[in-house]
Symmetry: C2
């Protein structure tokens, strides 16, 4: 009953994160109603992603002709301060604060296995090598910027152990009550952190 | 900071129904990580939709060489019983019951304006013409299958007025307690319908 082309679309698109078969089905019919011109525009935007490269130094995305992203090429950024992040969208959020002018390093998304996987170990090797290639052979600071969750804390501990020999100082993002939050409704852990880190 | 290609993807994809800028951003980075092969597969599935046509008789989708969908071409289906539906996914749900063997007619999604829009009026004209072209010049039955909501009821009333002259009988889907539902938690309107339509 449902044409082959639509079935293939639903199958392929429902494998995308947070798009299920229902949403993919609705999407298919909406796109057909929109017509070939808009479908072509979407397809073009999609294939444009195939040209995006990954920075060999920090693993953020870029479309530069060489192998480094625009952040790594920016000579105004401190090259001896590193911030470790799980994913590109975390980097974008930090960069939007305008309060960090060091180097970034994307580790890849951490799973709830509680251990570092091959991709993370391979990337950490790149980070260590890049630090060892500097004149001082040590970073001035490494900021571990993982989500403040049980698993984030576990992974942070692992990363501190891995990276302590490569840096003078190792830090993590401050924890406490978020702006706009209410003391009354803050959980105990958050309130505890806000007390410990009062200033 | 975010490459042009990614920005274009986010802009284009966040215009899709139920995909916001956040989901589009996450999607972009996930697709880049998946690599060009999977991006190409998605793009192919997408462009496949451009070949899907709309049935000139019932407005359902098809990829046949002529202008009619496979349901309208099926001579085992009663061609003098029509079911009016808002959208293709409603048709698929009804068809899955295996309990309807008449003709379908997709009216297009109704808005909360409470009036029929140009597209609906144009499609109703097609339906009326198709009924007038039959030997009897009248349908045996028209089933109005809109969602059982306030707006659905309003639109159903409008459609009954429009279509009454074209059919011997005009009906709507039965209303009552859904299978698996509980009397205790059913709303008053649903319970009222289940009493009125007891059998």
């Amino acid at each position: 009953m449902i044409p082959e082309n639509i079935q293939r679309f639903i199958q392929t698109f429902s494998r995308l994160p947070s798009i299920g078969p229902r949403q993919a089905t609705r999407l298919a019919f909406r796109l057909i109603a929109w017509g070939p011109a808009r479908i072509a525009a979407l397809s073009q935007a999609l294939t444009g992603l195939a040209q995006v490269k990954t920075c060999t130094r920090c693993f953020f995305v870029h479309t530069n002709t060489d192998s480094l992203c625009s952040l790594c090429k920016d000579t105004h950024r401190a090259s001896d301060i590193y911030m470790l992040l799980e994913k590109e969208t975390d980097l974008i959020s930090i960069e939007r604060t305008g309060k960090y002018a060091g180097t970034y390093f994307i580790l890849g998304e951490l799973t709830k296995s509680g251990v570092l996987e091959d991709i993370h170990i391979a990337r950490l090797a790149v980070l260590k090598q890049s630090i060892e290639n500097t004149p001082q052979k040590k970073a001035r600071e490494i900021i571990i910027a993982l989500n403040p969750s049980t698993y984030g804390d576990l992974h942070t501990a692992l990363l501190i152990k891995e990276l302590a020999p490569y840096t003078e100082k190792i830090t993590r993002l401050g924890r406490g009550i978020p702006t706009g939050g209410e003391i009354e409704f803050a959980d105990e852990d958050t309130l505890g952190h806000s007390l410990e880190r009062r200033n």
